[in-house]
Amino acid sequence: MSNSGLTDTEIINRILQGEAAIFAQIVERYQNFVFTLVLRFTDNREDAEEIAQDVFVKAYRSLADFRGESKFSTWLYTVVRTSCLTFLRKKRLDTTSIDNERTFLQLENQQSGFRADTIETKSRHAMVNEAIRLLSPDDSQLITLFYKGEQSLEEIGRIMGLESNTVKVKLHRARHRLKEKMEKYFSHEVRELQG
């Protein structure tokens, strides 16, 4: 993730001393993850990019209040979550039912867009990402934070406002639901992987 030798705390201190331009390193370091997390809530790339941009601007404005009691990434992901929930409340988006036939057909169309010579790894990643998108925003965010966010159960609990034991239970259930979705909508790919 790091694109320079500086830690997050060192970068923040330099920004607070007036080197605003160095904030670009923070953006590059976390943009993919923030964008992915936001996409779990909106499923629309334009909205996701707008929200992700807003997250970084809010984080920049509030940098002086980052006390260093937790990792910067944990603090940033809390801003992500708050921004996403605010966006959802404003737009009053429906969380598409995971068994919605229309959603499945959309996925089918996307899947058929893959060329026959797509490498096996890319197909597998696409399948997993699509399956994660079928989950509820909370489940998909939880899985993304655990597997991609380098966050412990306690840190995820802090982000989502839950006890770490509750996070563990929710994670188990989210993975179970993910497995079910993969078996239901991607049974062919799952069988190929099993060999």
Partner: protein, 176 residues
């Protein structure tokens, strides 16, 4: 079974539990099958890729923050002079209150170097103190509210002071 296997895969099991599950996986086909199934899901999720925003994303963010500024830390919003003024006000109130209470005593006595007279004055003073109705002072609603507000403000000032000290110490650790 699934919960135990997930804890095993995530590395959250205790050493005792780990070796018990190792044994179960080795000896039991059901456990073995389930373990392979869950491990595969785990590996798939570990291998999943992040989505990337547009190439202009960083540039867009930096253009946006060029218009913004880092808000000063909350502690800097507060003007220290105001805090000193409030503290001064309450100290004055407390002092005035004490002066008022002490003014309720009858301090009159004879000026005499005679030890007996001096002793009598002291005894009178003690009697006056005992006669003074402290309940009238401390049972008053105004007094109670005043004391409560003073205590709360005192605690807030203490918290702000300790918070500032901690920030300074942290700064010293980062920039020795």
């Amino acid at each position: 079974m699934e919960e135990r296997l997930w804890d095993y895969i995530d590395g959250l099991s205790s050493p005792v539990e780990r070796s018990a599950i190792d044994g179960l996986i080795a000896a039991n086909m059901e456990w073995q099958r389930k373990y392979r199934e869950l491990l595969q899901v785990h590996q798939l999720m570990n291998g999943s890729e992040l989505d990337a925003p547009s190439l202009r994303f960083t540039k867009n963010v930096m253009e946006e923050i060029a218009r913004a500024h880092v808000a000063p830390a909350t502690k800097n919003y507060i003007n220290k002079n105001i805090i000193h003024a409030i503290a001064g006000f309450f100290l004055t109130m407390i002092t005035g209150f004490l002066v008022y209470c002490l003014g309720q005593f009858k301090w009159s006595g004879h000026s005499s170097s005679n030890l007996v007279e001096h002793y009598n004055i002291k005894t009178n003073l003690n009697a006056e103190i005992e006669k003074f109705n402290w309940g009238k002072v401390f049972n008053s609603a105004y007094t109670n509210i005043f004391l409560l507000v003073t205590v709360v403000l005192g605690l807030m000032l203490l918290d702000m002071y300790l918070q500032r000290k901690r920030q300074e110490n942290r700064q010293k650790e980062i920039n020795p």
